[in-house]
């Protein structure tokens, strides 16, 4: 009992103890917050990568190839592009397949109006393209919104659900089919070697 009283009355180290008690919760908060942030940044990165790949896919594959030779359809291509986004998100280690993921994918044209899908853009014929060189309808944007499938919390306090967004602008890659404006060179006949 005497030892306990002496220990309680001993003020040595009190300053450090109070300082430690003040710093510890802040430190734990930073550590936990950093981990939550890393998770969100990682998922955002996956969403960004998927959106970029989908934009690139739709830029390359489009109506230009829709003939019997390639056996492609616009519906297939849109589904393939969206699968790229889903694959990228699902391959993230913080997301498992069983989670209820809300992923919204929207398409916009060059004027900023929402469209069903960019694969329906026709690649113009050469003469049409030269007649209307602006061709702003070739530009499209994909915007994605992913609601994180869990409630973000900080030390037990719910911070609500987080929605991550991403977007990429690209263009329907119809070219290059424009012939260069230069004259066709006239072939010069090679003189036949003279016989002996």
């Amino acid at each position: 009992m005497r030892h306990l009283k002496a220990w309680l009355k001993d003020r040595r180290g009190a300053y450090e103890l109070v300082q430690f008690a003040l710093v510890l919760p802040v430190f734990v908060l930073i550590l936990y917050g950093s981990f939550e942030l890393i998770k969100l940044v990682s998922i955002r990165q996956s969403l960004e990568s998927g959106t970029y790949q989908a934009a690139r896919y739709l830029s390359v594959y489009h109506m230009y190839y829709y003939d019997s030779q390639y056996d492609r359809t616009g519906v297939d291509d849109t589904a393939n592009a969206e699968r790229l986004i889903w694959d990228s998100v699902l391959s993230n280690s913080y997301i498992s397949a069983g989670m209820p993921i809300q992923l919204e994918i929207r398409y916009y044209n060059g004027a900023g109006q929402e469209i069903a899908t960019p694969v329906e853009f026709p690649c113009p014929e050469i003469r049409d393209a030269l007649a209307d060189p602006n061709n702003s309808n070739l530009i499209f944007t994909i915007r994605t919104r992913l609601t994180v499938p869990w409630q973000t919390s900080l030390l037990g306090l719910s911070m609500g659900s987080v929605t991550l967004t991403s977007g990429h602008t690209s263009f329907v890659d119809c070219g290059p089919w424009y012939p260069p404006p230069r004259p066709t060179p006239t072939p010069t006949p090679t003189p036949a070697p003279e016989g002996p």
Partner: protein, 162 residues
């Protein structure tokens, strides 16, 4: 004189004072990390926009004519659309077309000699001004505006059928 000496020797509340100082520094570090993250994010968007714009010009440049001015006009909405996909970029930051950001396209001399398909290389240079608000120092009322000029260059070559 004695009260001053006594006050200086009084150690009560020093821990609180130290904690306050640390918290202030910590808040500034968090804020500046966020600002740096914004700048890096905008720089990434600028890179994506310039790269896509170079590809756009490489495939479609010939139908607009070999003219850096015409190319800039065509590329502007494209670059702006890509930059506006970034939540940290607003339309106010971009301003009216052609004025801000500054898009400069340069061509190599080979382009003017009709050798379009082989040697017409070009570069696209995009500049985007951005202002970082630095928190005020002790004793100052207003924050400091730190103007940054973010820039990106992409090089490419005209593509066409021979």
């Amino acid at each position: 004189m004695v009260p001053v000496v006594k006050w200086l020797k009084d150690r009560r509340g020093s821990t609180t004072l130290q904690a306050l100082l640390f918290i202030a520094i910590f808040v500034v570090i968090i804020y500046m990390s966020f600002e740096i993250w914004k700048v890096v994010s905008i720089k990434q968007s600028l890179h994506a926009a310039t790269y896509q714009a170079a590809k756009y010009v490489a495939l479609n440049g010939l139908k607009w004519g070999i003219s850096p001015g015409a190319w800039s006009q065509q590329v502007w909405p494209f670059v702006a659309a890509e930059l506006l996909n970034n939540p940290f970029v607003s339309e106010d930051m971009l301003g009216p077309p052609g004025s801000n950001p500054d898009i400069r396209i340069s061509l190599n001399p080979e382009c003017n000699q009709g050798n379009y398909c082989r040697r017409c290389q070009f570069s696209i240079f995009v500049e985007l001004p951005y202002i970082v608000f630095v928190p005020p120092r002790f004793g100052e009322d207003s924050s400091v505006r730190l103007p940054l000029m973010l820039s990106q260059t992409s090089r490419s070559q005209l593509q066409c059928y021979d």
